[in-house]
């Protein structure tokens, strides 16, 4: 489904991604771990098309179609979803209005009729249940005054609404309390499907207890330096990243 080859990207004259290779198949869950400033969020944003980051080399394809030439909204409509590490506030715009516009932009792209207010509300209610979100959140401005945990729930709610092919979740677990982590992770689990791939960026094993990855990668210094099964996360929890540092310098 997703094939990343030798991806290099820079921002502000500084090379952050230095040759990332990654292949994700439909139905798989990949975890990406790595120390702070390794380039994990950068990878997520480059996949989603943030223009600030200049891709200098390499390729990214989704189901054989190159993503790099597409605008962020076109990638989104092709099925790329990113859950933000720091979701922003959009004052004065209700969650409901925002999501309805987004859902309808996707539907239009697929040549489907737009959802009317009633149908939208029905769909939204179902999906809010998934992450145990209060319905009142629909009428609040997007992320405005939301607690850290509420923002993360809102991200997964949006993922559910947009039903992407590929979801990149950037530290969705950070900021969640113990119960919320369980709820959100089970929400994401419910969204797993044979034709949907997930990339989960995290620092902690906790999330992976609930959301068990098929493959775990370590991103370090802008490259994937180690790839293994789910047991890798446990090992990192014990040993940190020090032992991988050497390999990265080479």
């Amino acid at each position: 489904m997703l094939v990343i080859k030798d991806l290099h990207a820079r921002v502000d004259g500084k090379e952050i991604l230095r040759g990332v290779n990654l292949t994700v198949k439909p139905g798989e869950v990949h975890a990406i771990m790595g120390p702070n400033a390794a380039g994990k969020s950068t990878l997520a944003k480059v996949l989603a098309g943030r223009e600030e980051y200049e891709v200098t080399q390499g390729s990214v394809t989704l189901d054989g179609k190159s993503l790099l030439e597409l605008a962020p909204e076109e990638r989104a409509r092709e099925g790329v979803f990113m859950s933000f590490q720091y979701p922003v506030e959009i004052p004065g715009v209700t969650n409901a209005y925002f999501m309805r516009s987004a859902v309808n932009a996707h539907r239009k792209h697929r040549g489907e009729p737009e959802l009317d207010a009633g149908a939208f509300l029905k769909l939204a209610r179902e999906n809010m249940k998934l992450v145990a979100m209060d319905e009142k959140m629909l009428n609040r401005a997007v992320n405005e005054g939301f607690s850290g945990g509420e923002r993360k729930r809102n991200e997964i709610f949006q993922m559910a609404m947009l039903a992407p092919k590929l979801a990149v979740l950037d530290e969705t677990d950070s900021g969640l309390d113990i119960d919320a982590l369980r709820i959100v992770a089970s929400g994401v689990n419910a969204l797993r499907s044979p034709d949907r791939a997930l990339i989960v960026i995290t620092h902690y094993q906790r999330l992976l207890d609930y959301l068990v990855p098929d493959i775990t990668h370590v991103l370090l210094g802008g490259r994937i330096v180690k790839t293994a099964g789910k047991e890798l996360a446990l090992e990192l929890e014990k040993r940190g990243y020090e032992w991988l540092q050497q390999g990265a310098q080479a």
């Binding site: 989603a48 098309g49 943030r50 600030e52 605008a71 962020p72 909204e73 989104a76 409509r77 979803f81 990113m82 933000f84 979701p87 922003v88 506030e89 959009i90 004052p91 004065g92 715009v93 209005y97 925002f98 999501m99 516009s101 987004a102 932009a105 996707h106 792209h109 401005a141 949006q158 947009l162």
Partner: protein, 485 residues
């Protein structure tokens, strides 16, 4: 996105031009235009054409005398080449039958023009709850729902008709809020105004529908100088809407209107404007100079609320104000002003607290894009007598791109210590993070911008009547087209 229309495409033909400004067409209609220039003779001519009583002519001539002694104001944060006041024609009227008994007699070309603007004038087709007065160039061509309003004693007619049929009301209130000597443009308007709308709501009457005036400039080289006078008698209520458009032309046209509101004790007037005069092209050629004086006077317990959405005009110079003369009266000003490309706006309000326990609220949202300049200028005056007066002002600016400018000029003058004045201001840029967030969810860049801007303006939009709010949102999106990327 549609492309911009080269100025030479501005044919005289009645065609919808393929440009960003969808109201930029010209109606091909015979009209009666007075040759350019301003003199006593021209004023006598205008007054004579309209068959005005002597008091009107005398008032006009006094205004003209005063105007000749005045100078154009230069304090606004706008720049434009000198205006040649002798190069403007001060009267243009579509040629049609002298007296119109009903809408059926209005020139079909004119009706078609208003249809095209989305203002159907035939009463059957009208939105059930809006009565419309349509002003084409300088002349009111049709007022709908007159009969229904008359049943409850409401007068809603063109200014010319009011001068003829209700001279006592006109005489009593004309210039009572904006004297002809108030400023350069109000003096000019007082001398040459050709028409406009007049409203009188009798004591205790709640106007059963929205009243609305639609202004349209069509002729080349003409100025439009209309006058609106609304008198709400004790305990009455009226909501009034005003919309404006003009053809695309590559010269500038002057629009100097005066609006006077009188809210007698306990009356409420809600005045909403969606101003969409032609703003000029992307290089700043053409567009309307919108130099307007709007002011209301509140007697005891009365309330005047101005809501404006200003997206058009090359230059906007406009400060809808409230004189809070009576005790316990309330003034409100809700404004969205958008400037893009080379547009300039200097707009805001004046709240003059004269009475005790008077209250005012100011919410101003300025949005600047392109190379435009957008200034908020507001004055809050609390007089010695105004014990217990309260004002709250909130002025927010939103910048799109880095070539535009936003300025805030608040003047606060408090002469009574037992009063409260609060002023909050903010300036922000549309964040790349916000844009990216919305686009990541599948919204186009333009939809993302318009969503953020609409959210920014929400506090003002919710003051607008429903249909107007929808129109305002769409207008905003159109005005900001191409402002990012």
């Amino acid at each position: 996105m549609s492309s911009i229309t080269p100025p030479n495409a501005l044919a005289e033909a009645d065609v919808q031009l393929d440009g960003d400004y969808k109201y930029g067409f010209v109606t091909n209609i015979a009209s009666d235009v007075v040759p350019p220039g301003l003199s006593e003779d021209v004023i006598r001519h205008i007054s004579g054409k309209k068959g005005e009583p002597e008091f009107m002519l005398a008032w006009r001539l006094k205004a003209f005398q005063r105007w000749k002694e005045m100078r154009e104001p230069r304090w606004a944060h706008v720049t434009y080449p000198p205006i040649d006041y002798q190069g403007i024609s001060y009267y243009a009227a579509p040629k049609q039958k002298e007296k119109l008994a009903s809408l059926d007699e209005v020139d079909p070309e004119l009706l078609a023009t208003f249809e095209k603007l989305g203002i159907p004038l035939s009463e059957q087709k009208l939105l059930a709850n809006v009565a419309v007065d349509a002003v084409f160039d300088s002349v009111s061509v049709a007022t709908t729902f007159k009969a229904k309003l008359a049943e409850v004693g409401i007068i809603f007619c063109s200014f010319s008709d009011a001068v003829k049929n209700h001279p006592d009301l006109v005489r009593k209130y004309l210039g009572s809020v904006v004297p002809y000597s108030d400023n350069f443009f109000s003096a000019l308007n007082s001398a040459v105004f050709s028409d406009g709308s007049f409203v009188y709501i009798p004591k205790g009457v709640r106007c059963p529908m929205e009243l609305s005036t639609y202004f349209r400039i069509n002729e080349r080289n003409t100025g439009q100088f209309e006058r609106t006078l609304i008198v709400a008698d004790e305990g009455s209520y009226v909501s009034y809407l005003e919309g404006c458009t003009a053809p695309m032309r590559d010269e500038n046209q002057l629009h100097a209107a005066v609006v006077e509101l009188v809210a007698l004790p306990g009356a409420i007037i809600k005045y909403s404007t969606v101003q969409n005069w032609y703003p000029g092209d992307k290089e700043g050629r053409g567009g309307i100079y919108n130099f307007v004086t709007k002011r209301g006077k509140c007697f005891e317990r009365a309330k005047i609320s101005w809501t404006q959405v200003e997206t058009g005009s090359a230059i906007t110079w406009k400060y809808p104000s409230v004189i809070l003369q009576g005790d316990d009266s309330v003034g409100e000003f809700y404004s969205v002003a958008v400037t893009n490309n080379m547009q300039q706006a200097d707009t805001g309000t004046k709240m003059l607290h004269l009475g005790k326990n008077t209250k005012s609220t100011i919410v101003s949202k300025g949005i600047s894009a392109g190379k435009s300049s957008n200034a908020y200028r507001g004055q809050v005056l609390i007089n010695q007598r105004a014990t217990g007066a309260r004002n709250h002002s909130q002025c927010d600016s939103l910048l799109i791109g880095d070539k535009c400018g936003a300025h805030t000029f608040p003047y606060i003058d408090v002469k009574n210590a037992a009063s409260t004045v609060e002023h909050e201001a903010s300036t922000s840029k549309i964040g790349e993070d916000q844009l990216f967030y919305l686009r990541q969810r599948g919204l186009s860049e333009e939809d993302a911008v318009s969503m953020i801007v609409n959210g920014f303006c929400k506090d003002v939009f919710r003051e607008l009547p429903m249909e107007f709010a929808v129109e305002a949102q769409k207008l905003l999106a159109v005005s900001l087209e191409g402002s990012v990327g």
